[in-house]
């Protein structure tokens, strides 16, 4: 599996390289002539409606110049006040190197750089920066004016908490980086920038704390990100699916989150965060099964409550996969195992139901998936309709019409609730798919089939790895220290500072920068 994928990726990559080389032959260049430069950029961008080319004459010097930017993704206030005004009202005269002096003395923007490469200029303009062309100069000033309308920081919709920070990531990468920076005020926090998307050239940032994250882990993450070969990355999930270890597995091997506090906490554990520009979901690698079942709430609540919630979630994961299967197995293969009174009531309620229990269970599971899918697609206003349709029509009417038994409705509802109580949505999706396999196995081999499915699932996840870390980490390869934050969560004072399975060995520790050593002293 891995071999095949690796092969494919490298093949595609070399093909891409060839393409790039061919493209570079007829590359547009920056010349000293302003009009020609304006023509080039208009040609390349296709002179779109949002392209603003403002030609102006610099005060006192009386030289022609132009500012090029895309309206909408640029902060036009900044452009008007600090750049246009300053240039037009310029009173000084410069003798030598006009552009350098304008850069130093006229333009009042902090982020500014020179470039004479057309590709750079084009990319900068597409990113919302403004390009300042001066007649007679082959260099262009790129001014960091990107901005424009962005969603403000809001509470994340998908991972709500009773107690804990309320801010969530937004679509802007700079804001997201700032949110993490605000949480982790240590000099060793690193943001390494990559560009993904062969054509769209989107920004992506890998974030880790040097001295805490294992260097090989960081290197591996960077290596895999460099291997990404996509034309356009809509969301961080594209990156996730490209870099995860086993893309055929139903289990997610990279954690996604909308909460900056989760990323900060993970990064401080020695994990690596990945932020993609344009996506409010950050990625965290490596991920273990246990991570998928933990919520930030586990640390904000007191340990006893937190531990019981953890246990509850492990139970929920079990129910989400196996409950309908168990019901089918008990009802069809081993009715003798159910207490007789319950067995009678099940038999009575199933009277008149035309289908065998397996078909009934699969029907109900499918109906639930349909309701769930429809509920997501509908806007919030009509969303309630789905509740009524689901609750009344499917629940009441189906039972009254004798198509399904009331117990099956209870089982389906319980399974649904259990699958929604799993904090990681992608993990919960995976488990819900496995539920159908468990159902089929239970329908053919009863309890025996269920235990075999259980064994197969275990055999599958013990072989899963997320960036070299075994998926079943604290339990699989046993890390006794980490069990304190495994099925239960011990009191905060006993909690290990950093999970053992992410720690560096002592020899590497000696070479690591200060942060780690300070940690140990404390």
């Amino acid at each position: 599996m891995t071999r095949r994928s690796l092969f494919r990726r490298s093949k595609v990559k070399s093909a891409m390289k060839r393409d790039n080389q061919e493209e570079t032959i007829n590359e547009p260049k920056i010349t000293t002539d302003l009009d020609e430069n304006m023509k080039t950029i208009k040609d390349v961008l296709g002179n779109p409606a949002d392209l603003v080319v403002r030609e102006l004459i610099i005060g006192e010097i009386e030289t022609r110049a132009a500012i090029v930017y895309l309206s909408g993704i640029t902060e036009e206030d900044l452009l008007n006040d600090n750049i246009m005004k300053a240039i037009q009202q310029n009173l000084k005269r410069f003798d030598d190197d006009l552009l350098e002096n304008i850069r130093k003395e006229v333009i009042a923007v902090t982020d500014i750089k020179n470039s004479n490469d057309f590709d750079d200029v084009c990319l900068a303009v597409l990113n919302g920066d403004s390009a300042f062309y001066l007649d007679g100069s082959q260099e262009v000033l790129l001014m960091g004016t990107s901005g424009g309308q962005n969603r403000s920081i809001e509470e994340p919709d998908t991972e709500t908490l009773i107690r804990g920070p309320r801010d969530g990531f937004v679509e802007s990468m700079n804001t997201n980086m700032a949110l993490i920076r605000r949480d982790i005020k240590i000099p060793n926090l690193r943001f390494e920038q990559h560009t993904v998307g062969g054509r769209s050239k989107q920004k992506l940032v890998v974030c880790h704390v040097e001295g805490l994250a294992h260097p090989e882990l960081v290197e591996e993450v960077n290596r895999r990100i460099k291997s990404i070969d996509l034309d356009y990355v809509t969301d961080s999930s594209f990156v996730e699916q490209w870099i995860e270890d086993s893309f055929l597995s139903p289990f997610p091997q990279v954690l996604d989150t909308e909460r900056p506090d989760v990323v900060s906490a993970s990064v401080m554990q020695g994990k690596v965060g990945i932020i993609v520009d344009g996506s409010p979901f950050a990625l965290i690698a490596p991920m273990t099964f246990n991570d998928g079942l933990s919520s930030p709430e586990d640390y904000t609540q007191r340990w006893l409550a937190a531990s019981s919630l953890r246990l509850l979630r492990f139970l929920a994961a079990f129910i989400a996969i196996f409950l309908p299967g168990l019901y089918v197995a008990l009802a069809t293969f081993h009715p003798g195992m159910i207490p007789s009174t319950l067995a009678y009531s099940i038999a009575a309620s199933r009277e008149g139901v035309p289908f065998p229990a397996v078909i009934e269970a699969i029907l109900m599971a499918l109906t639930f998936e349909l309701l769930h899918e429809a509920g997501i697609r509908l806007p919030n206003v009509i969303g309630q309709t789905i509740g009524i349709v689901g609750g009344l029509v499917i629940g009441e009417a189906a039972v009254n019409a004798g198509i399904v038994s009331p117990i099956m409705v209870i089982i389906t509802a319980l399974t649904a609730i259990a699958s929604f109580s799993i904090p990681s949505y992608s993990l919960s999706m995976g488990l819900r798919t496995l539920r159908f396999i468990a159902l089929l196995a239970a329908g053919t081999l009863g309890l025996y089939g269920i235990i075999l499915v259980f064994i197969m699932i275990v055999a599958h996840i013990v072989n899963l790895k997320s960036f070299g870390i075994p998926y079943t980490a604290p339990f699989g390869p046993l890390y006794l220290q980490d069990l304190k934050d495994g099925i239960i969560r011990v009191p905060m004072t006993d909690l290990p500072r950093q999970t053992a399975h992410l720690k560096m060995s002592d020899a590497e520790f000696e070479h690591a920068p200060n942060e780690k050593r300070k940690n140990k002293k404390r």
Partner: protein
């Protein structure tokens, strides 16, 4: 994908400690109290459980101590150092045959027990092949994955055993245990052999010790693992005798499962616990079959180093399944059981004695040779 710091296939001595119970505990324990009750009187079996246990613990120690003298060396490399290459190859071939038979036995046993407790009509072959496919799937994964499966399943196995013992306290009758020491000398000797046979499985340590990153700790850990098995067997044996009495225990085919049938869990949601119990016990049988198969492949890979693991699995799987279908009824399978028991005891025992003698004569292997 790449070799990183975390991604190595080395295992720890702790994994050995857990793997040992995983291979020893399988189907043997289900009928174990019955065989002992046939050779000893009343509750005297505890003496032989401990005696047999001590013998197996001793051999476990002997195997691991020898292995620890050759750290990070494969069985083939130190075996050919001690007893020339051809002899080593024959021994390895025997071990792989042993593994084939062990796996086949577990697979066929699943069929027989399932027929008794889970379904009557489903053909035995279907039940066996479903189980065997799961075993193949697990073996096809990485070796460290196999040890992780053991780590995840062994708490489950010990937990379910102790739950069962705990809930049968109500049904125990201390009179069943008395009087003490009524068995004759013959009974003790026979019983000790019987009990020692059910502890078979330490032979796998010959092979796995090469992968351990801290071999010097292995003897202690392996002894601890084996001792935990002896304790579990002792508890189970005493519970069965105390609940059923001496004579009935000898008559029951699988006293440990029947124990589940007789207990009632208060508040009783499940009525026939034995089906649930057996279902969970399948994980114990699974780990035994899985390690048996893995050892076979590991051994054969030493002789045929160029063969791919997957190829070996696909060659061996039909053979093992065919052998597992050979016993036509429970009695034939029982003889199969006795045969397996003797083979998987005598083979490692003879080998370890031979190796120790050769080690005393030839001495250790210097690193790098």
């Amino acid at each position: 994908m790449s070799k990183s710091h975390f991604a190595d296939d080395r295992i720890q001595s702790l994994d050995i400690m857990v793997a040992l119970p995983s291979i020893v505990i399988g189907v043997g324990i289900l009928s174990f109290p019955s065989t002992l009750a046939q050779s000893t009187k009343f509750a005297d079996g505890w003496v032989v459980v401990i005696l047999g246990g001590l013998i197996s613990i001793f051999f476990t120690w002997a195997v691991t101590k020898l292995g620890a003298k050759f750290p990070h060396q494969s069985f083939y490399s130190y075996a050919s150092h001690l007893v020339s290459k051809p002899v080593a190859s024959i021994i390895i071939l025997l071990f792989s045959l042993n593994g084939i038979f062990l796996t086949a036995f577990e697979v066929s046993m699943i069929g027989f027990i399932s027929h008794q407790y889970l379904f009557e009509q489903t053909p035995r072959e279907v039940v066996s092949i479903a189980f065997f496919l799961a075993v193949i799937y697990a073996v096809a994964g990485s070796r460290s994955g196999i040890f992780r499966i053991n780590l995840l399943f062994s708490p489950l196995i010990f937990l379910i055993s102790f739950i069962l013992i705990f809930f049968s306290i109500n049904f125990m009758d201390v009179d069943h245990l008395l009087p003490l020491f009524k068995t004759g000398m013959d009974g003790y000797v026979e019983g000790t052999i019987q009990s020692a046979l059910s502890y078979s499985g330490f032979g796998v340590l010959f092979f796995y010790i090469a992968f351990v990153c801290d071999p010097e700790k292995v003897p202690k850990r392996a002894v601890a693992g084996m001792s935990s098995v002896v304790c579990l067997y002792l508890f189970i044996y005493l519970t069965c005798i105390a609940v059923f009495g001496h004579a009935p225990t000898g008559e029951i085919r699988w006293p440990f499962i029947e124990l589940a049938q007789s207990v009632e869990i208060p508040g009783g949601f499940f009525e026939r616990i034995e089906a649930v119990f057996f279902t969970i016990w399948i994980t114990a049988i699974f780990t035994t079959a899985m390690i048996g198969f893995d050892i076979t492949i590991l051994a054969l890979q030493m002789i045929f180093p160029k063969r791919d693991k997957i190829v070996l699995i696909f060659i061996l799987a039909p053979i093992i399944f065919f052998i597992s279908l050979l016993p036509k009824n429970y009695m034939e399978n029982h003889y199969f059981d006795i045969f397996i028991g003797y083979v998987s005891w005598l083979l490692p025992m003879i080998v370890v004695i031979l190796f120790w003698i050769m080690y005393r004569i030839k001495g250790g292997l210097e690193n790098g040779k």
